[in-house]
Amino acid sequence: MKVDTNSLKKIAHLARLEFDEKGAKKMTRDMTQILDWVEKLNELDTSEVEPLITMSSEVNIMRDDVVGEHLDHEKGLKNAPQRDSDYFRVPKVME
């Protein structure tokens, strides 16, 4: 699978990442190389195989709906890069 500059841009946007020209070139090359390598899986016939979607053998772990400990407000905001008294602060969303 050849990753081109255009698809790289689209994926980068989905991942909320940005690359400069040099970084984009290297990432395009690396991704193409790695995708070519993982495509080896196509050599296996898996038409009769169900995908494995969970690794834990625990199912339906139930518990009573009781109020437990949770982070208090101040602790929750402790690591905020920017905050006010009640909320996380972010740059303007609407122009």
């Binding site: 940005e18 790695i34 979607i53 969970t54 834990s56 982070l71 690591n79 905020a80 890069p81």
Partner: protein, 477 residues
């Protein structure tokens, strides 16, 4: 003070009043200072460790101390401790101070283990050489021009260089076993879901496990039995009872051992490692155990499966690092979207970005079935093959790594070459089964070789007993 070779020696020394916990902590603090250039620790909790030691000394005096009194632990920088910084070796978690403690770590503290500091690793556990760390690289204590392995490189070096009694690492595709092999120590990856992942900064949630490094099997078994077991904060954690592994180390029955033809025949395998592995198998046969060669035709599909699934899970897990709630926020942003993009682009290292990009790609609508679903199907084939083999045999024995510790920069320009370092460790991770790496002699350059043993899910007791038998009887020398 002489080097303690085991926790049993520490306990004996405490019982005989030859030492106390403060002296033990001071002993390790001095070693950490002497070996500071190895860069294994990113933060040392000198004062708080000494304070904890004083409290435990009082408990010992009163006879109320826990099972791990006197044990000094180092913790990989991906495990959270309340009130302490955790970075996952990433700039994006700059300054993050955890509000809670990982369940596994809390259980050790509750038994009076002393946490002496946090240990360097690859960023978010992504790497096989500890070269991807915002804290800088860790040096291999045996040959400082070489990598310690990764991602839990600091944890392996800390135990090898006697900077703590035991250390915790995490293993997603070999991140405990490979550095254990490169440093000549013991490292276990338990069964998936055996130990709660609560408080472990996630990389790939259907693979991540917390593992243990030690100088001997018994210490390793003791720490795992205390960490393991169900946890209300991790609904995937297994409810199966946890045996007292450290009391079950006796081994006296003939074992059925399989080895995989493809793992010893591969061209990429260093000849000395091949020889050492075959020597152990030969000795086992001579001791009356059943040793059989089996084919593992899926070997070459294991790494591609692993990389599709782990990058997908990583891209999802690492979406939480957005510059809003904690960690690094770019000062250059002018609106919300550029805050996300710049914080993430400036905060993540190159390997992490590569994996997020790959994961985003394989999960994108047009490619989801061709890559992600396909890999989930192949995972089932690999898991079923491995479990089936482990019902016919007690153990699978194979090399831990294709080569001994390599030089810094050797694989830096070729991601796939670096990924191939995990060729022999990912099978257990993809299948969820436990695996342990024990020392298996040295190569011509004096670098340690690792021997890996896998057992079926939740057979940690059997795994430890067999590893104990091999190391005790010197079959691995």
């Amino acid at each position: 003070m002489e080097k303690f070779r085991s926790f049993d020696e520490i306990k004996k020394s405490l019982e005989n009043k030859e030492t106390d916990c403060r002296a033990i902590v001071n002993h390790y603090l001095k070693n950490i200072e002497t070996k500071a250039h190895l860069n294994a620790f990113v933060e040392v909790y000198g004062p708080s460790a000494l304070q904890q030691a004083a409290t435990i000394d009082e408990k010992l005096e009163k006879g109320t101390a826990g099972k791990l009194a006197g044990m000094v632990l180092g913790i990989k920088d991906v495990l959270c401790q309340e009130g302490k910084i955790a970075n996952a070796s990433s700039k994006i978690l700059e300054g993050f101070e955890s509000q809670f403690t990982a369940t596994a770590v809390q259980r050790l503290i509750d038994e009076d283990a002393i946490i002496i500091g946090r240990l360097n690793c690859d960023e978010f556990g992504m790497g096989s050489s500890n070269e991807n760390s915002v804290h800088g690289k860790v040096l291999n204590g045996i040959d400082e021009t070489r990598v310690p392995g990764g991602s839990s490189g600091g944890s392996a070096v800390a135990v090898q260089a006697n900077l703590c009694t035991v250390s915790l690492g995490t293993d997603t595709g070999g991140s405990v076993r490979q550095p254990a092999a490169f440093n000549g120590v013991i490292g276990i990856k338990p069964t998936y879901s055996r130990v709660s992942r609560f408080g472990l900064i996630a990389y790939a949630s259907s693979f991540d496990t917390i593992g243990v490094f030690s100088n001997n099997v018994k210490d390793n078994a003791l720490v795992l039995e205390i960490m393991a077991g169900p946890d209300d904060y991790d609904s995937t954690s297994s409810r199966k009872p946890v045996p007292a592994y450290s009391d079950l180390l006796h081994f006296d029955k003939p074992a059925k051992v399989a080895y995989l033809r493809e793992t010893v025949q591969g061209e990429a395998l260093q000849p000395e490692i091949k020889q050492r592995t075959l020597n152990v198998l030969e000795k086992l046969k001579n001791e009356g155990h059943v040793v059989e060669e089996v084919n593992f035709p899926l070997l070459e599909f294991v790494l591609p499966t692993y990389y599709i699934l782990t990058t997908a899970e990583a891209s999802s897990n690492l979406s939480r690092f957005d510059g809003v709630k904690y960690g690094y926020r770019s000062p250059n942003a002018h609106n919300l979207e550029s805050m996300y993009k710049l914080s993430r682009s400036e905060g993540f290292g190159e390997e992490v970005k590569r994996r997020i990009m790959l994961g985003t790609f394989v999960l994108s609508a047009s490619y989801y079935d061709a890559y992600f679903t396909k890999a989930q199907k192949v995972r089932r084939l690999i898991k079923e093959f491995t479990e089936d083999l482990l019902t016919k045999f007690d153990y699978i024995v194979l090399p831990t790594t294709p080569s001994t510790a390599f030089k810094f920069g050797e694989h830096s320009n070729d991601p796939v070459a670096m990924y191939l370092e995990d060729l022999f460790t990912v099978q257990a991770s993809v299948s969820g089964v436990p695996a342990i790496s024990i020392p298996n002699g040295k190569d011509g350059k004096g670098l340690p070789i690792g021997l890996q043993i896998m057992a079926n899910s939740f057979k940690e007791a059997e795994l430890y007993a067999f590893a104990n038998y091999l190391t005790r009887s010197g079959l691995n020398e």
